[in-house]
Amino acid sequence: MALPQVKQSALEARLEGLSLPQTGAWLGMAQSDALTRLNAMGLPAPRDEYWRFTNPTSLTAPVPTPAALFSPQDEAPMFDALDRLKLVFVDGVFDADASDEIALEGLEIERLAEAGQADIHWAKDIYGKLEERGQDPVQRPLATLNTAFATDGVLIRATGKVSKPVQLVYLHQDENSDAILHHVIRVEEGAELTILENGPAAARFNKVMEVDVADRAEFHHVRTQGRDHERRAATHIFARLGAESLFKSFTMTANGVMTRNEVVIELTGDNANAHVAGACMGDGDFHHDDTVFITHDAVNCESRQVFKKVLRNGATGVFQGKILVQPGAQKTDGYQISQSLLLDENAQFLAKPELEIYADDVACSHGSTSGAIDETALFYLQSRGIPHAEATDLLTLAFLAEAIEEISSEEIADDIRDRLEAWLLRRRG
């Protein structure tokens, strides 16, 4: 089907500044293939159903809106206290000097551009492949654009229980940067890997992470999208889960004029578990969109989606979440909750929770709520001597608790709690 003229010209304008993928090696072929797919779908437009609550214009525009640099001095950098292996990207470009030496038992890490030239490579079966599987039944053109034009990223393969988390730090040093990063992760059978991500990354950040979790493997992911306000981000995670595997991803977002986080998970092996959670706090000119699509295509799998948003002062929160249970995916246990706490009357939460079930022996539940602080609870706390502002913060953190509990590491969960508390503290009137 031919693309409508508007979409065609928007795509052409966007592609103008980007250098065409090189053909030849496996990466070049995957990128050319992605470009073909992109040309057939065009870029998201404000009228698209999947972009009903979020205006994609700033994410698809030919050039990014500049974003002021921001480095808060009142907090230690995220994950700094942990024993981890650190990989640094500056405005979307890997910085080897600032990164740790890659030498960890059971772990292989390569740069996308280099590995992409190899004759054969394990990532060949994943790069762009999981992304392409995630295009059905809903198109995600920003991810395809990423696959076609990513210039950097890492390929991470865990072959055993990796002793330290791998941290991907995204620094932002150029007010006009437009970064496209693509990571591929393979957790081999029985292996375990934790990925941490943090930092503003760029004025505009398009990131795709494809994660292939083999049978009985575990993948843990904690990311924070920092306090820098002006950056814009469109991120995608595409994950495929083998039998008895575990996938856990948690995202904390504090501030940001535009964030769209899409998570697309396919449970393809029996008894697999997928947990996705998010806690976000928005103040003022803030737009945050969580779009999640979980497909159950195996027996006895469990999935959980727990998304909590605290919004105030004009902030907008969006949640689009779907559980799709394919024929034969019996004994599916699917849970989805999306809630917002509106701290004043100027904030809004738009939610579209969906279930689509083609198997008869499943237990799926979903719920979405939007509400203000519970006055009765507030009075109870105050009557014990806790001042109004402190009591409000306590209830706000309590509201976020269910999402934070999804983090496996107590140490990281405590740190996230402290940072959320500090965020609230900075806003006390």
Binding site: E375, A377, G385, E390, L394
Partner: protein
């Protein structure tokens, strides 16, 4: 200690008067009991004193140790020494009972210009007090009142009172929903706090609680006013004959 004069209260949202000229003085070291028919305004009195929204004081005054209570925020009233054990304690999912209590104790200490309690000191004190109320470690860890049984909630109220050491304690039907043993525990908890510098206002429907917490004075509240005041024998009279005789007598 607590001095209430000619208190008139109506609902903020509608034109409904609930307290209609209530006078009451509780002296330090004394236990006063309030009894009265359902809907007579007992809980409303306790809420208005502790500063809950939704009520409007149209006349009268309420002072705690000479300080105008009605001018203060709820948390300031607490810091000034007022405590209300709720008729219906509130469940707060996501806030741990222990965190809640430590935040409360330290907020009050801070408001009074006192040093905050260290985590270790706090733990030592709360463990001892919880033990005497038969509140186990698990209940301390769980979210505030969440999933607690009726009796557990009431014991948790008394634990809070014991930790906060208020000067003026109001207990709104703390006995309702308690089994005989729990009632004894609660009464012991209250009695342990009785001293010369502390006043109590015990709202109840039953003589049973007053067998354990011996009141000095008993008031009957009906239709928003104290209609009769007497000694402990007044509670016995209510227990035996109900309110009809008393109300007829004062009508």
């Amino acid at each position: 200690m607590l001095e209430i004069k000619n208190l008139h209260v109506k609902l903020e949202e509608e034109d409904k008067a609930i307290l209609k000229g209530l006078d009451l003085t509780v002296e330090a070291g004394k236990v006063h009991a309030i009894m009265g028919p359902n809907g007579s305004g007992k809980s409303t009195l306790s809420y208005v004193l502790s500063g809950k929204d939704g009520y409007e004081v149209t006349d009268g005054s309420a002072e705690l140790l000479g300080e105008d209570l009605l001018e203060l925020e709820p948390e300031e009233r607490a810091a000034a020494g007022l405590f209300l054990a709720f008729q219906y304690p509130v469940e707060i999912p996501g806030v741990g009972n222990m965190t809640f209590l430590r935040t409360a104790v330290n907020a009050q200490r801070k408001a009074r210009g006192e040093e905050e309690l260290s985590a270790a000191d706090f733990l030592k004190i709360i463990r001892a007090k919880a033990k005497s109320l038969k509140i186990d470690a698990d209940m301390l860890k769980r979210p505030v009142n969440t999933g607690f049984s009726g009796g557990e909630k009431k014991r948790n109220e008394i634990l809070q009172m014991a930790m906060l050491e208020p000067k003026m304690c109001i207990l709104d039907e703390t006995d309702s929903g308690l089994d005989v043993d729990a009632m004894k525990l609660v009464a012991e908890g209250v009695n342990a706090l009785r001293d010369e510098g502390r006043g109590f206002l015990v709202i109840t429907h039953y003589q049973r609680l007053l067998d354990h917490i011996k009141p000095d004075v008993v008031h009957i509240l009906a239709d928003g006013k104290i209609v009769k005041t007497g000694g402990p024998e007044l509670a016995l009279e209510v227990e035996n004959n109900g309110y009809a005789d008393i109300l007829a007598e004062v009508a």
